[in-house]
Symmetry: C2
Subunit: 279 residues, 2 copies
């Protein structure tokens, strides 16, 4: 692997470039982004060169798509037209079914491998990129067939994932989307809804709140520019998760003055503790 | 002020003791807690002496009640029977109406002053106590009359609050309880409900989740031993907040595929950002 092309040099793409470098990658890293972003990425030594999409797709041995989801989908035909046969095209989009379906139309088998690193920060953009972002974090891969992961290009990518400290997990795209609807998209909506309801209330104006309110509204700071694409491409699982959450809140309200409330609390506390246990 | 008695030497009571010391208090700090807790507090040099409740109440120039809410309420008659006339009794309970009402029955005017420091940590107990816990945090006071804060014992307490870096805010007890129902108790229930709904689902078992899920379930780690008393003593405002939150989530669900979703997101993000602005 001599040349890597990063499409979308933001938090994830920039962190992947820095992580490759830290893990010993000595080839060339091309960046495809807006002129402002590639200039900043060059300043920060995150990429070696800025490149146009077709040029980068043709030059690269690994193409890493880390734009917002709908931009990834839009870019697929142009990349498919320019990419060389042995090159692996992978993406870091937060939903997988729609991207993988679009990729299956334009790419030959074994050329595209869907991915989703379960890593993130509140800050966006290449300035927030860090080499250790993927360290110890799950990295979902959604191969189109069981044999795809045995192909040389996919093997090599998996080796680099392990070198940057990520923990690869293989999932069906639809299963991935159903899981993250509950583990990622629902927490986002819960925080956004909390901030939205408080924004219309007089109580917070008193400034009488503790650190818990800041924790609870941290996700609500996220931009709709990213989340809009996620919602568009994972509608049914998210609505299912949202409905389950509303039902749980109604149950807490109905049981508010019963001993069952302690049971709900204990169940929630045990679950929250289990998330924190080393695996 | 020569002697301070802390009833309940946990996170809040222990931190108040450490904060007083750091701010230059050179008198004696008595601790009233279980034998295990006072022994630990002595080891950690959080208190100077362990004392029995009646003895501590009689000896102290300031009595600081930082047990769970229902224990505070239970302790009031014994303290009222032992306290000297000029001593101020104050509490750090998370709800104020019920405590203040009970105090009004047993104490003479100007002897009891309700309080609530808007500070906290995930960890409980005297081992988690720290001198800077109140630094820059709002500290609500709920005097029974406008003139109470001008009394010498209340004046002196306010001076110490300022010395430990807290920001005193005067509120009516019922207003305080309505505010914290939205800014503190609702975030807790939102996190507990999220953890509770996920605990019954298969998705989290995949371990496919990012840092956001840990952030969102941090409050759910809290113990019902503390929250049960809060719910019991602030029922109506909390149910009101919970109903508003459920309505907001239903609105997000109903607007899921409309442009209004972006508006909700932007409104939430702006509010979350405003909470973080320096005042």
């Amino acid at each position: 692997m001599k040349t890597v092309a990063i499409f979308g040099v933001g938090l994830i793409g920039g962190s992947f470039a820095l992580a490759l470098r830290k893990a010993g990658f000595s080839g060339k890293i091309l960046g495809v982004s807006s002129p402002e972003t590639t200039e900043r990425a060059l300043d920060l030594k995150v990429i070696d060169e800025a490149a146009a999409p077709g040029e980068a797709a043709h030059a690269a041995d690994l193409i890493y798509l880390s734009q917002p989801i709908l931009q990834i989908i839009d870019s697929l035909p142009q990349i498919a037209a320019a990419v060389r046969p042995g090159t692996l095209v992978t993406d870091a989009g937060s939903t997988k079914s729609e991207i993988v379906q679009h990729a299956a139309v334009v790419f030959k088998p074994n050329q595209f491998l869907g991915g989703h690193p379960m890593a993130g920060r509140e800050r966006r953009g290449v300035d927030a990129a860090e080499a250790d972002l993927f360290l110890g974090r799950p990295y979902v891969l959604t191969p189109h067939s069981i044999t795809q992961l045995e192909q040389p290009n996919a093997q090599q990518f998996q080796e680099w994932l392990v070198k940057i400290g990520a923990v690869p997990i293989v999932l069906d795209p639809a299963e991935h989307d159903r899981i993250v609807a509950f583990t990622s998209h629902l927490p986002q909506l819960a925080s956004t809804a909390l901030a939205a309801v408080l924004s219309g209330r007089p109580e917070p104006k008193s400034r009488v709140f503790g650190p818990a309110l800041l924790d609870s509204t941290r996700l609500a700071l996220s931009s709709f520019d990213i989340w809009g694409d996620i919602f568009t491409t994972n509608r049914a699982p998210i609505l299912d998760a949202l409905t389950s959450y509303i039902a749980q809140l109604e149950q807490l309200r109905d049981r508010f003055e019963t001993t069952a409330l302690r049971d709900e609390f204990d169940r929630a506390a045990n679950f929250a503790a289990s998330l924190r246990e080393p695996q």
